[in-house]
Symmetry: C2
Subunit: 190 residues, 2 copies
DNA sequence: ACGGACATGTAACACGTTACATGATTAA
DNA sequence: TTAATCATGTAACGTGTTACATGTCCGT
């Protein structure tokens, strides 16, 4: 069971950090394929400490709340390695976008086109972000960043090449007209 | 908020079905990018019914528990469309595999190689499965299946092309030796 | 005799999110 | 002065999983 706790151990294996810093590092690095919030990180660290997998030193700071800097114990490092060695479970993907595409028949074609436009732009930009990260870090870190970038690019390309499948109405309406202009935002109120 | 309830509405928009059948259809179609279990589907249908979004007819069956066949109401269909029209949130990916790769330095290189071998095989096989599905269904359904297939393929190719980044030890040990043979399964105990 | 597919449902549990509570510093 | 960053933590809530409860039929 790979949960927030393991993730915390992992981040700590790269260097000591406070709960706050762990969150930041997870955002930088893992945000593309794993999420975690303060509400899960702080309790996780607390429990890891009672289990002896991490140790903390309170660093007093002037004008700021004390900072609890955590570090891995030997046991914690062993647990991490054991956890990482477990055969990884299947990736879990939860994509509202793909659900919407699956039921594209129920949506106005223009709306579908807009969603795809946005998605392509998002993926290109996220891919570019990861491409930058691919230049830095350890080989393993570059490997993971590159993986993300490759998938974002593959997704964007697929969308570009196959969008006609879900935009049939638009296809009939304007065979080779401009694809980006002319659509008003449909305010989908709750 | 795109949850199991919306998914149920979606499946029902393709035809009436019982809770059990909804589960099966979700398995076939969505299993690659969305999960749902009986424990979430049955309560969801119940609540959808009290909210008037679905209607049920009990079909009596000899020698089997009665089957509750659900169908969408007009309101349900409207709700579904409204929901699908909401700008889709970001995809959530949770990959134990990528977490393990990120910390590959902590693992024996052989172990990493094995994980990658398995992952490539899995992705190729899941991709092939989707490729079959790509031949059937509506255009939208083929679009989504194709998307999945494209991503599985991209991932598998990336892993093949870049695995050396996380297998440096293995790389030093056997420059161009056979990559698949010779590794014994390391029993990763609990 | 055993497991798997069919069929529905509940309860306990795990996990994570969001919002709340508190409070200083710094840049726009 | 308003928002953002730094900094920790709790409580309520939502959502989903797993296991349990029940029972038949069919294939091996």
């Amino acid at each position: 069971m790979m949960d927030v706790r393991t993730l915390c151990l992992g981040v700590l294996s790269l260097g000591d950090a406070s709960g706050y810093e762990i969150k930041k590092r997870l955002e930088n690095v893992f945000s593309h394929f794993y999420d975690a919030s303060f509400g899960s990180i702080y309790p996780a660290l607390k429990r890891l400490q009672t289990e002896g997998l991490v140790r903390s030193e309170t660093e007093q700071q002037a004008k700021r709340p004390d900072k609890k800097v955590y570090s891995l114990t030997v046991e914690g490092r062993l647990t991490l390695v054991r956890e990482l060695n477990n055969p990884p479970g299947r990736d879990r993907v939860r994509s509202e976008f793909l659900v919407a595409m699956f039921f594209a028949d129920l949506l106005p074609a223009g709306q579908v086109g807009e969603m795809i436009d946005r998605r392509i732009a998002e993926h290109r930009s996220l891919g570019a972000e990861l491409a930058e990260r691919e230049a830095r870090g350890t080989a393993a870190q570059r490997f993971v960043a590159g993986y993300g970038r490759a998938l974002y690019e593959a997704a964007a390309s697929y969308l570009e090449d196959n969008r006609y499948l879900v935009e049939s109405e638009a296809l009939l309406a304007q065979i080779d007209g401009d694809r980006t202009g002319g659509r008003t935002g449909a305010g989908a109120g709750n």
